[in-house]
Symmetry: C2
Subunit: 354 residues, 2 copies
Amino acid sequence: MWGRSINTKGNSSVRATQSRKVLPVTIDRVAKHAGVSVSTVSRILNGTAVVAEEKRKAVDEAIAALGFVPNPVARGLAGGKSFSIGVVTQAIDSPFYGAALRGIEDELDPSGYVPMFVSGHWSVNVESRCIDVLRSRRVDGIIVLTGRLSDQTLKTCAKSTPVVVTGRSLKAAGLFSLNFDNFLGARIATQYLLDLGHRAIAFIAGDADHPDANERLRGYRSALEAAGIKFDPALVVAGAYHESSGLMAVEHLLEKRRHFSAIFAANDQMAIGANLALQRRSLRVPADVSLVGFDDLPTSMYAIPPLTSIRQPAYELGRLAASAILQLVNGVQPIAKAPAPQLVARESARRLPG
Amino acid sequence: MWGRSINTKGNSSVRATQSRKVLPVTIDRVAKHAGVSVSTVSRILNGTAVVAEEKRKAVDEAIAALGFVPNPVARGLAGGKSFSIGVVTQAIDSPFYGAALRGIEDELDPSGYVPMFVSGHWSVNVESRCIDVLRSRRVDGIIVLTGRLSDQTLKTCAKSTPVVVTGRSLKAAGLFSLNFDNFLGARIATQYLLDLGHRAIAFIAGDADHPDANERLRGYRSALEAAGIKFDPALVVAGAYHESSGLMAVEHLLEKRRHFSAIFAANDQMAIGANLALQRRSLRVPADVSLVGFDDLPTSMYAIPPLTSIRQPAYELGRLAASAILQLVNGVQPIAKAPAPQLVARESARRLPG
DNA sequence: TTGTATGCGTTATCAG
DNA sequence: CTGATAACGCATACAA
């Protein structure tokens, strides 16, 4: 089935033959050159055991002289490790995940591990398949950036391959979770608007079956309640975390003639969409309506007006996740914690006039 | 050297032992189950030879029954292929490259190949190292998204591993290039502004040692010349392809009291930055100055005002590149061509009043 | 057409 | 501390 989809009929024989001659420096070539056995070379390569200083030197020289580079593929087969970390992201081209991926890459780089990115597209099935692919590739660990896989699936997976997952709080053997405090972030954002004198604050929510979207909704409600303001369901409209849904949300609000002086969007992308919708209707931001986003994407500071948002340090989160998976892979229990949410006040929100 | 950077002292022995029991369904287990030899199974898997229908059925059943999944690592070692394609991108979190990566991913997915992304960060040295890593991983092919590697380096690399590179026009054995027509794109953009009646058109350039940045500059000049307008060096200011440089470019222009009624930015990110700078100085876009970008990033349509830009189909380019490398890997010469640049007129540019 | 034997480059397990 | 040698899981000449 899977095998037939691969086109192998090509006649790449000529090039293939050449390509195998380019880097034929194997470990036993080094061994011979240094006058030792392959095991010795392997040992000093991995630091598996102590070897005589003279032999070590001879081997080091041989390696340098021959330009030997170990073959990760063979190492994988023999040692059961692949020196690669699987990363299931939801959308590799999302501005938010992009930063996280870079963080992962940066952190993994010096360790000799390489990341293997696959996209789950917010679909349980696709994510599942991603995990399968990753495991068939024998990755040494898996980082799951949120997603919709069930907690149980993750736990099961962690039994055979270390897993670190963001966006949830889970505890299990071989599993480490890194949860950003979405609830608190949303609470801070709402509180900020409240402090500015706003009372009618609309909320553009994310997908309902999106765990952190719900947390953000909860934070919004919590701040409202704490301020003694009745939660008005008519002021929250569902979005889908991308620009167009933010735009449509505002149009919906306007169409229904809802009254509001401020909008809190569950992420920056929706805030950007909302911003456009507002200005299309000649509603000035922040003169007529204040706007606050969530995530603080790199580009949000260049929005017009520059967007006030809750900073979610995606890059750092990526680094932390990578660092954690490396620890897990090496048998140590990570203890990292996600940075706390923080408000970045810019120009899209201001004190309610009057 | 490299070996010692890998921490192997951890005591993950227990988990490691388990992990090897999870998917121990090897090819010869299947062979036994089906009552045939391993070679037969292998042949069926790869379509290497014709086998009797009954055996094929037996094997298919065995595969299904045992849930067998071939081990790419072992396949790689034995067959000299890794079923993975290396991709050297410049910045994995760039909005532009993100789309290309998704295209690559989507195209590779059904073929059974998986992409291996590494970032060159616009540095020859880093890119070089990326290539080394990729080759040491025995990727079957490499896609280079522009970058600063010399043509010669690429050609040499292509001798042992098929390469497809974007952003240049190169010909060599095992090498295929996919060049977007940046010159034409820039010409179209400038021409558009010219048609709108603008005469004083500023240009925010990209890095000078960036091949496509130069092409865009050339296109700008070419359109000007064709219209009989003298090229004014004072109207072109260097940028660096990111928002802040666009912002600074405009401030520079304003500071120097240059006169212009329109700006053409060599990419959308700089246009976005320019937009903010303009509005900060109370210059309305497009009422006071028209603005045109390049790339047509997904978010550009949500800018305020929605940005007029030259569409560079990054996603399609990614797909094309992936498709081409697959062909190259299979020994067939690709013939794809990059889509032509196209103007997307939105609201950031308008006819010069008066 | 099908099975056998050998190799792929390392690591790991044993003896020495 | 070191060196043979057997895995690792699969592909593939070579035989049959």
